[in-house]
């Protein structure tokens, strides 16, 4: 455990919570718990998750807002912090709902791999708060940090392998 983490533990102790509530960021703590459940960030330290929360951009979407459309070029991955998002795929002029994602879920991760087009359309089902990670930021984050890059790339490989297994006929 390094100095920063131990200081962070002191700050999160009961005594600190009692006397320094005015200085502690409770909303971010709540979001931190949410993103620690995201499978893409599994295994990352709390320090790094906090860094992600600070550097990534938050955006509110109203119910019914299209986050992105199928076929668009993807440049970012999204994490649901609050609300829910519906993933829709157009098949034979019919809209098929692939998934409804709640807090702690992520979508659009294929954008991190290359200049992939969006496979499906994402629409905010309720008023939602999303965390957006742009591809260049991801590249910048993993460049020069083998521990983070190997962890996230492993998570990404696991997610993709799950997709393949799910789509295979049993």
């Amino acid at each position: 455990m390094n100095g920063v983490e131990s200081f962070s533990m002191v700050l999160n102790s009961k005594m600190a919570r009692k006397y320094f509530t005015w200085a502690l960021d409770t909303t971010r703590e709540f979001h931190l718990r949410t993103i620690s459940d995201v499978s893409l960030f599994k295994g990352l330290s709390r320090k790094l998750l906090r860094k992600l929360l600070i550097d990534l951009i938050e955006k509110k979407y109203s119910a019914g807002d299209a986050i992105f459309h199928e076929g668009e070029s993807g440049k970012a991955v999204y994490v649901v912090l609050e609300g829910s998002v519906k993933i829709i795929k157009k098949t034979n002029s019919e809209n098929k709902t692939l998934a409804v994602l709640g807090p702690g879920s992520h979508f659009g991760e294929l954008a991190l791999i290359g200049q992939c087009s969006r496979f499906a359309t994402a629409i905010a089902e309720k008023d939602s708060l999303l965390l957006i990670m742009y591809k260049s930021y991801f590249d910048d984050l993993i460049r020069g940090n083998s521990a983070i890059s190997s962890r996230i790339l492993l998570n990404l490989a696991e997610i993709l392998s799950n997709y393949i297994h799910r789509d295979q006929p049993s």
Binding site: E29, Y134, S136
Partner: protein, 382 residues
Amino acid sequence: MNEERHKGGASLSDLRRLRHQMPRWVLLLLALGVAAVIASRITHLLTMLTAAAVISYIFSSVINAFERIGIKRSAAVILLFALTAGFVIGADLIFIPDLKQEVMNAYTKFPGFSHEIRDALLSTAQRSAEKYPFIQSSIIKLVEDVFGPNGFLEKTLSASEILMQATPFIMALILVPFFVFFLLKDWPGVMKRVMDWLQPSYVETTISVIAEINILVGKYLRGLAADCFSVGILASMGLWLIGINYPIMLGIVSGVANIVPYLGPIIGCTISSLVALMQYQSLDPVVNVIILYLAIKLLDDLAIQPLMIGKSVHLHPMLLVITLIVGEKLFGIMGMIFGVPFVTAAQKTVAILLEHRRESQKRECTQRLILHRLGKPPIRPI
């Protein structure tokens, strides 16, 4: 009355028609021209805001570090200001007595400086007259222009002018920290509001512009700070080794001046050469100083800059010089310092927007092709 007539006789519908007839780039150029005129009228405020933005940008990483351990942003900013005040007081008491001594020496000798430089230049001119007659006439002309009765110093160093020059500086000393405080505290809130206000279809392009500029400016500013620090240290050590007075102060001046591309090293070298000339009343140490600065410049170009700044900011040399000249004309020294990252960021933004436009056109073409193959009429944009 629907058709509201203007003084010149043109109706609103005429203006609307004119707007539709004009190519977009003409409108963009007009808007940029108007923005440049307004900006040139409020240069002092813009300069202070730019300085505050840069300081906030540099300190934002410290604030982020506080946030990473769970401290609220507002509390982190107050803590940073308290720490900075403590550091300044501590540095004043403990770390920099040598520098203080140098500054005090220079300050007490300041009234005699111009005479010393004039005497040193004249004696050098007399000594070098036999060997290099052309140097003698040039030096005498320089002495007359700068130190003569109608010279540069006589014109600029009057008390009222010094006071007038000092007023904006004092204002900046008060206002810049004030701006820095609120920029650091409220910037994420402003960004959040901008993002919430944005149409969902523009979100990814906007984030890509913000992220690319953030990465680029971050690399440039951090690299520039490290570069200036290295140049300052090298200059200080070099000047101390060749026995020039005030090495720490001159090192700091050289490091800070190095921010301005091309001109910075010349400024640092000129000031150090003048100090060497005053100290030794001879050209030999001046030559040493020039060789030292040339070596530092060479090292900076070949090793320090590629290592610290890399290729993050790349402007064509001609565009770089134009940027420096226009920046200086519009915003003075600040324009020269921040013109380069500003133009590079603008270049990057235009590239991203063009790419976004190309992608949308490509998508539209693909959609039309699919509809055409399915035998459906194309959807025309409204």
